[in-house]
């Protein structure tokens, strides 16, 4: 299940329970899956057309009128096109607006770089009052949507276009700001987010078979960062790998590096887009092209461990 599909379902369920929820979209409700909510609750759905800046402002106004707005479009437009509206109107005023964007990262595929958000986490993470979440699978996405509806304040949630495997265990309970530890490794720990969690888990299986103790942490909340878990991981192993479908500048890699360099400096390797745009191609092809496969992770770890 793609995380965007989980969003569509979660939003529909939430809409049944809470009458204060309103949804806005900018002519992409079929792709973002807000269309499900729109069909069930047309009076609480506002298509603002191809006008993202106006959508963010309208969402702010609905929040001021006591509603709980979810505003959705592609991540590149939600965070890039409307960044200043998010800054000035939502974050500066600390409004209860939920920005849930789909089509994050290069796994968007064929549409190419114009539609692949690879800087969105950086753009949102830098804003005061903003919370940033990147769920790893459908189950976690549903929990994230419920959790943020109970939380007051601006939140950015980045979802994907492609189907992703279920990686989180059945008993998992998402809490804002809490990372999930699959395992803490003695040799290396991979801190991953979004679709890279499943890639990290695959990489850890390969290396564990070769006798390397690899830990995996799902850092689904990038802000506020779960520094407690990070410190634990950094103290357990001398090497940390960060893995994200985003630029290595400003995203998870930066967040982890910023914290650990001040608190517990160790060797960190950031995996992600190395100051580059994406391009067209099939999602799996692109992950390979940009070095974000489980094999790339194992290779990076082996090289780093030899140093």
């Amino acid at each position: 299940m793609a995380t965007r599909d989980a969003y569509g379902e979660a939003l529909l369920e939430l809409g049944k329970k809470r009458k204060d929820i309103v949804v806005l979209d900018a002519d992409l409700s079929g792709s973002t899956k807000t269309g499900k909510f729109a069909k069930a609750f047309p009076e609480r759905f506002f298509n603002i057309g191809i006008a993202e800046q106006d959508m963010i402002g309208t969402a702010a106004g609905l929040a001021l009128a006591g509603k709980l707005p979810f505003a959705s479009t592609f991540a590149v437009f939600e965070t890039g096109r409307a960044w200043e509206q998010v800054r000035q109107t939502i974050c500066y005023s600390n409004l209860n607006v939920k920005l849930v964007a789909t089509h994050g990262g290069i796994s968007v595929g064929e549409d190419g770089a114009s539609h692949q958000a690879t800087e969105d986490i950086a753009l949102m993470r830098v804003l005061p009052n903003m919370t940033v979440i990147v769920p790893s699978d459908g189950n976690e996405t549903k929990q994230v949507i419920n959790a943020i509806s109970e939380y007051y304040g601006p939140v950015y949630v980045r979802l994907g276009r492609e189907k992703v495997p279920m990686v989180m265990p059945d008993h998992y309970e998402f809490k804002i700001g809490k990372a999930y530890v699959f395992h803490i490794g003695k040799d290396v720990n991979i801190v991953a987010t979004g679709i890279m969690v499943s890639k990290a888990l695959e990489a850890s299986k390969i290396l564990n078979n070769e006798g390397i103790d690899v830990g995996v942490i799902n850092m689904s909340t990038l802000k506020p960062l779960d520094t407690e878990i990070l410190l634990k991981a950094a103290k357990a192993s001398a090497l940390i790998i960060t893995a994200e479908e985003h630029s290595i500048i400003g995203g998870l890699g930066s967040a982890v590096t910023e914290f650990l360099s001040e608190s517990h400096p160790i060797s960190i390797h950031r995996m992600g887009l190395k100051d580059a745009f994406g391009c067209s191609g099939r999602p799996e092809e692109l992950l390979k092209y940009y070095g974000l496969t489980p094999e790339d992770i194992t290779k990076t770890i082996k090289i780093a461990l030899k140093k």
Partner: protein
């Protein structure tokens, strides 16, 4: 000095007197602050006075009253004007106006809603207030509340593309509880609007976007009152009041001067201006 609070007053001479006092407070706070936007605060002073002292239903001692009418200052640089009417209608003590732009003050250089009750939304980055106003208007309709939303824009501000996105949204959703007011003073920081980047014909632009358009003299109290009455009779579409104004209105040596867009009066200028305003008051 504590001003008397009388609201929903339609007496023109009373409103003219309040507007004069509003201008006095604007000039005093700007002069003390040593910086800020004089011209655009003065040009819209009559309109905003009528809104706060006459037209809007609001409760200064209950700023979050659910059924209040909303005022959104999209041209956030006219913050001194908003602060003056908020203080004079009783939202906070008038002595706070002295703290404008000072460290720790709730009166930020541009309005900040987190710090000052009565400010509905933080503004200052131009072009964003109309979208917010639309959202509030939509929310009020969902709750079947009859409250209205008034949004004040600058004329230079409508060069921002987002204004026109919002103009389309308001017409599409038939927001007849929304009124935009354009403070058409003809000047922006870099010079006359017509020279920087022409916006005329303003009325036919809004007409073409599906709005009801009213044109008034933005310094004529009777015209302001009548236009705001007309707004309430318009159904199924939003209304824009295009208010022809004079930048720096009320102080002869500021009027129509582009250089007073973004600077505050000196002490000498303040004394001269206050003298003019008091003579005008008779």
């Amino acid at each position: 000095m504590q001003h008397q609070i009388i609201r929903r007053e339609r007496d023109v001479s009373f409103l003219e007197k309040q507007a004069r006092l509003v201008r006095v407070e604007i000039l005093k706070m700007l002069s003390l602050a040593g910086s800020g936007h004089t011209g655009g605060s003065l040009s819209a002073a009559d309109i905003v006075t009528v809104l706060y002292f006459s037209k809007m239903r609001h409760r200064p001692h209950e700023p979050m009253w659910k059924e209040r009418d909303r005022f959104i200052l999209s041209k956030g640089h006219a913050a001194p004007l908003l602060y003056a009417v908020l203080a004079m209608t009783g939202y906070f003590d008038i002595s706070v106006l002295k703290t404008l732009r000072k460290l720790g003050s709730p009166l930020q250089g541009h309005p900040c809603s987190r710090l000052l009750p009565g400010v509905e939304i933080s503004t200052g980055s131009l072009g964003q207030g109309l979208s917010v106003s639309n959202g509030i208007a939509l929310g009020l309709k969902l709750d079947n509340l009859s409250s209205r939303v008034y949004c004040l824009l600058g004329d230079g501000e409508i060069q921002e593309g987002q204004v026109w996105e919002a103009a389309m949204t308001a017409a599409h959703y038939r927001l007849d509880n929304l009124c935009a007011i354009i403070d058409l003073n003809g000047l922006q920081i870099d010079g006359p609007v017509s020279q920087v980047k022409a916006i005329e014909p303003v009325d036919s632009k809004w007409l073409a976007f599906g709005w009801h358009v009213i044109k008034i003299d933005g310094h004529n109290m009777a015209e302001i009152l009548n236009s705001l009455d007309e707004v309430e009779r318009v159904k199924e579409k939003p209304t824009v009041i295009i208010a022809h104004t004079i930048k720096g209105k009320g102080v002869s040596f500021f009027e129509g001067k582009v250089e007073y867009h973004g600077i505050a009066p000196t002490k000498e200028e303040l004394m001269k201006a206050l003298k003019e305003l008091s003579e005008e008051g008779g």
